[in-house]
Symmetry: C2
């Protein structure tokens, strides 16, 4: 075999000298999508081999907080006394998908999400039916339900009745992703999926008709050919760790100083899929964030730019707020609070931001921050006047976080890029797929034998400005199942 195997150049089947292994379904990656695909393919009676580049499974999901976006009346919502309707969840996810919305995909996910919740429970995942109302990225304990997006914010709340839909398995704090992956991997192993660790997929193997019939995989330092009679399923994550791909496709994500991913999120699944004729779409989009809460009290501040202008409703999801900074990386941004919330200066908050200035008066703060004289004072006066009346005519920030900042002294946190704060990011772009997980070429035609799911695809999450936590894992597990079933011939 050529020593220059490249994902961009599939191996022709006639060049394969011998098969190292043969199976029905060959899955690349044992993260949320791959594990879900493996379980479903095994349930369908298929032989399943998973090749995982790392020495353990879990992927990026195992590193994540583990939110899963469910709604429309889940057992957890009902037990917490939360009313929700599938139609409101659908409306919300459509708004959250912005200009890149894929209506059929949103509909598919919403219509099947309650059954998918049950499926996860069948695999062994437990949800503690307790709702935490505070503005959080995740629950601190093992409670199962929070608001994980912009549902209560303008203009979403006017167009889709809000409900908390961020569900986490019963693990403390950020341990939800690890618990989910332990659960899924244990289920996949119980059902007889065979996992090869430290096995790196290198390129596809295609027959004369262009059908994908297997993969070249590096195992123990050797390039081996594995035959997939039914199909290959690419679940190898996104490309946030591949700076060259970011520069080519999503340059603004290079601004992130905190890539959210595992070291194998190098886009290899996408590149293998492209090599076999797949079309990668929406490659510029991603999740970008400034995780500025908790503490919840930070949300009571006003976010101003270096011109002293407010720029966003401060009660939005942290991803929506982070978008503002990513869109203007050379701009200064400050979160201004008054003395009522000075406790925020004592407890280091999640986002790692620092105090830029403190002032006895707003004029003093303005001077300390070197803002154009008069701008911040006017911005604050205008905000306070209306906030006292429960109004925010500029950005429609909502109670309970809408309060006049009228208790000097004032402080400002530096939210600028390069100012010390964390700016996490991961990619949304990937292979175009049918709702069954078939990889599509640029003409929308399915490539025989090739399937994909998770962040190797462009799935449910498509727009950073509208993202809600839980959309990625919901997408990866649900559409992972679909791809596994399709590869198994169901």
């Amino acid at each position: 075999m050529s020593s220059k195997v490249s994902p961009s150049r599939p191996l022709r089947r006639e060049s394969v000298e011998s098969w190292h292994l043969e199976t029905d379904v060959l899955i690349v990656g044992l993260g949320a999508a791959g594990a879900s695909a493996a379980i479903t393919a095994r349930d369908a009676g298929a032989e399943v081999v998973v090749v995982e580049a790392a020495s353990a499974g879990g992927g990026t999901t195992a590193l994540a907080g583990g939110q899963i976006y469910f709604g429309g009346g889940t057992p957890t919502q009902k037990a917490c006394g939360i009313e929700d309707r599938l139609e409101d969840m659908f409306q919300y996810l459509m708004l959250a998908s912005g200009p890149s919305a894929d209506e059929a995909r949103v509909r598919e996910y919403v219509d099947n999400n309650l059954a998918h919740f049950d499926w996860l429970v069948e695999q062994g995942l437990e949800f503690k039916p307790e709702y935490v109302k505070a503005k959080l990225n995740n629950t601190h304990g093992d409670e199962g339900l929070i608001y994980s997006g912009n549902e209560t914010c303008y203009p979403y709340d006017e167009q889709a009745r809000p409900a908390p839909r961020g569900h986490k398995g019963k693990a403390k704090g950020e341990g939800g992703g690890a618990l989910l992956m332990d659960t899924l991997i244990a289920s996949a192993e119980r059902k007889g999926a065979w996992v090869l660790y430290e096995a790196r997929a290198l390129t596809s193997i295609v027959d004369e008709q262009g059908r994908v019939v297997g993969l070249v995989v590096r195992i123990d330092g050797e390039e081996r050919c594995i035959h997939a009679r039914g199909g290959v399923v690419l679940c190898a994550g996104g490309f946030i760790m591949n700076r060259e791909m970011l520069a080519q496709h999503a340059p603004r994500l290079l601004l992130s100083n905190f890539p959210l991913g595992n070291p194998n999120d190098t886009g290899m699944g996408i590149r293998i899929g492209q090599g076999a004729g797949g079309c990668a779409i929406n490659m510029h989009e991603g999740f970008v964030s400034l995780p500025f809460y908790p503490p919840s009290c930070m949300v009571e501040g006003i976010l101003v730019n270096g011109k002293g202008q407010r720029v966003v409703a401060e009660d939005v999801y942290h991803g929506r707020l982070g978008e503002e900074m990513f869109a203007a990386p050379d701009e200064k941004f400050y979160m201004v609070i008054d003395s009522r919330n000075f406790e925020a200066m004592e407890k280091p908050p999640l986002g790692g931001y620092s105090v830029a200035a403190v002032g006895e008066t707003i004029e003093e703060l303005e001077a300390e921050l070197a803002l154009p004289p008069g701008m911040l004072a006017h911005t604050l006066a205008f905000f306070n006047e209306h906030a006292a009346a429960g109004q925010d005519p500029l950005f429609h920030k909502r109670p309970p976080y809408l309060k006049p900042l009228d208790q000097p002294p004032y402080a400002a946190f530096d939210f600028s890029m390069g100012g010390g704060a964390w700016f996490p990011a991961f990619t949304f772009g990937g292979l175009d797929t049918s709702l069954d997980g078939e990889v599509l070429n640029a003409e929308g035609e399915a490539i025989a034998g090739l399937f994909a799911a998770g962040r190797t695809t462009c799935g449910l999450p498509r727009w950073g400005a509208g993202y809600a936590s839980g959309m990625s894992i919901g997408d990866a597990t649900y559409f992972g199942r679909k791809a596994g079933a399709a590869a198994a011939g169901c």
Copy 2:
């Protein structure tokens, strides 16, 4: 031959029954890139066939104003007494390329742009050495030189010494592109390039090693195979006319109500290239604009959003200003002028915008526009106070357009999307190529036999927020020559 020819599925050479034609260099598209490639390949002694889908050549360039970005001391600049240095042009183009900058490509273009100017003159293009200083999209007469970008604006002017670099061939008004194409096509024909009109390229033909050896082309309703011994050069334009591709790759460009292109800008060159293994990059980016000048006097206004906040230095290039609207399509935007420039209400300006309100005072205007009370008045007062001192602390708008708006009554033009103004757009994304025009796969490897130039590639223009008129045609003609030479084996 299969009746379902698809650009995503190259034809295998072994399936070709007979060649309809054989040539050295086969070029798709007779726009600026294709014509330049044809001339250069003929000069190198190669047989050249061009297949053009339309019934005449010219492509989108023939519809354009015809600006070409040249600098560093062109004959036109020198004759007009303009000093410029290659290094300033390089610095400027790097800034103008933003996060997607390709330094080697900018360097290549700048270092060779004076020789490229001479090459265009050799083909028969004439430049009238007259500089027009007004803020224009193009000269009204046949004068050859204007500022065509953000060179004099903050922060560019501080980092690269400004010079006008927008060159137009000696044609009146918007006729520069047509003149350029007439000139290039006449030269190509004189040199013996053979053009097949109404001939539509459908997919590539590849041999066992993946080398591109020709194209399937629809001619007189029949699918014909054309053999290219040296190489195929894809110069088929961008994809602004393909709404499905825009949705997949550049959804914000769907907001444009004025696609700048010809009907064949459907991305066919990109899709044929992808089908042969090429990687399309930077697909989300494009030129977007609100052509709000001329009249120049409009630049003296202040642009505010629906919150009454200023958002940009109003003396920027129209593309930079248009970016603000494309980034916030649901936001309102108004250009506020005072009575000194009311003449702008009489002469219908280029951008097609309408008068949203007139007010005897700024407060009356604010009320007419239903802006949050007090915001616009403060914005204007702050602007006027500093403008009177020649300062714009917020956005650094420069003289000569920085003047207090202190002569009521006031008027506001509606610059919002959906408010009647034109929002032109075209695409920047396309095939990744080497500086010689070789099409590259996702691993950066050249695909043998396949070349591309112009908007089928991701070339010199890569960032809408920094674009200057003339970058596209400069890129298409220069790198078209490179691709033609490479395909001819030079």
